[in-house]
């Protein structure tokens, strides 16, 4: 599978990453090598095999219906790069 710099631009944009030009060139080559190796899976016939996302079939996991306190707002906000006393602060997102 050929990986192009345009593809790396597209997945970088989806990932909210921006690679400088020389890093992008190296990353494109590395991803092509890695994805090329992954193509070995195509030699296996998986017709009618169900995809397995979880090894143990755990279903309908419930907690006891009890109200417990949330973490303290001030201590949660204390870890943020920018906050006032009630909220995380970010640049204006809606005009």
């Amino acid at each position: 599978m050929k990986i192009t710099e345009e593809m790396v631009d597209y997945i970088s944009q989806l990932s909210r990453l921006q690679l400088p030009p020389e890093e992008k060139t190296a990353m494109t080559a590395e991803l092509e090598q890695i994805v090329g190796y992954m193509d070995v899976l195509n030699t296996l016939d998986t017709t009618d095999v169900e995809p397995l996302s979880h090894v143990f079939p755990v279903k309908n996991v419930m907690r006891a219906d009890q109200v417990v306190p949330s973490y303290d707002r001030a201590s949660l906000l204390a870890g943020a790069p920018a906050a006032d006393k009630d909220a995380f602060l970010v640049p204006k997102a809606v005009e």
Partner: protein, 480 residues
Amino acid sequence: MELYELTALELAHKLHTGEVTQQEAADTALSRIHAAQPHNNAFITVSGPAFPAADLSASPLAGVPMAYKDNICTRGTTTTCASSILGQFSPCYDATVVECLSAAGAVSLGKLNMDEFAMGSTSETSCFGPVKNPWDLTRVAGGSSGGAAAAVAHREVWYAIGSDTGGSIRQPAAYCGVTGMKPTYGTVSRYGLIAYASSLDQMGPIAPSAADCAAVLDLIQGKDPRDGTSLDIPAGRLLDSLTGDLRGKKIGLPVDCYGEGLDAEVRSAVLAAAEVLKARGAAVEEFALPVMNYVVPTYYIIAAAEASSNLSRFDGVKYGWRAEGYADLGELYTKTRTQGFGSEVKRRILLGTFVLSSGYYDAYYKKALQVKSLIKQAFDDAFTKYDLLLTPVAPTTAPKLGESLSDPLKMYLSDIYTVSVNLAGLPALSMPCGFDSKGLPIGAQLIGPALGDGMVLDAAYGYQQDTHWHRHIPQGGDLK
């Protein structure tokens, strides 16, 4: 015998009889940590012990100094994942394992170095610099729990909690000559473990001996309502059940784990371990496990996909570090992530985003989930014939620093013997089984069926009754 030559349980015994005080144990640990840190860089944060001293009746390991890998949340103590993007993040809660161990009288002395976000096989991708192998400071400690393995090998702490997504407990334990256990998926709560690949991540102990690992698991296994994948199983009887009796047990050696690519000295040390198990009464037999050829690509597709999703939460808003000089919200995200993540993390986020993206999802991600099903089936079949499997942990002993980073694919391939265990959710243990001609430790891996954690530990316990490899301490206990 020096304190640092003891296993965790042996030290616990001396604490309980009063032969050694908690202060003496903690002082020994701290002075060893401070002396070794400039050489092996095993710690990210060193904290003093919490006094008043632990209640020694709380558990068999009460009062024993230990440490946590730095991707495990500790309330009020910086938790970095060895990444710039987390900055000085100090969680406002403890992980469930930390709660369990604190209640059991564990004495935590800090947080251990690792690969950034647990992504790597060498502990070189840390933003705090690489961990160095205490057996040879020009070599890697393995990864991603490299700091944990290095600190336990050099006995700066008597046990550590690491995490294992594709071998990150077992492989550094092998490279550093200590015992490490990845328990069955779902038996240890992941609440408070900063996620890499949630369907594969599991925490577990690194310690001098298998009995130590059993004692730690007794304290941390069990159902946790805060982790929906945790299993409701009886826990807490592993240490008491150790006998070392292997009579009647059948151990399978997958021939596909002993072929091309395996170092000859590693092969002969692991096969010698098989002989020890045989002498203890086990029947040992070779069998074919051809699905091993597909485990590395399957693992890296699934792990990268989950990582790309899990790491989307690091955006410079809710915690950690934020880049400067942004015009709008989009630029805040992009600049923070671009400058905050290291290159291996970016590589896996991009790979994961690629395999999940429209047009490639079926060919890569869905295909990997189908192959995962075949891998699990192959292990289920193997365990209808065998009680345990024995393999090497890694194809070689610890490589030189810098050798692996230049070739990511080669590094990924070195995970071949460990990743299948995570894909199938199985318990597996890495135990020291010899040294190569360079004087570097070699590890053997025992794999059990799901929930067969006790059987895995018992076999290793039996092995360690007859061997002394887990007793060796690097450089006479004094790093220079």
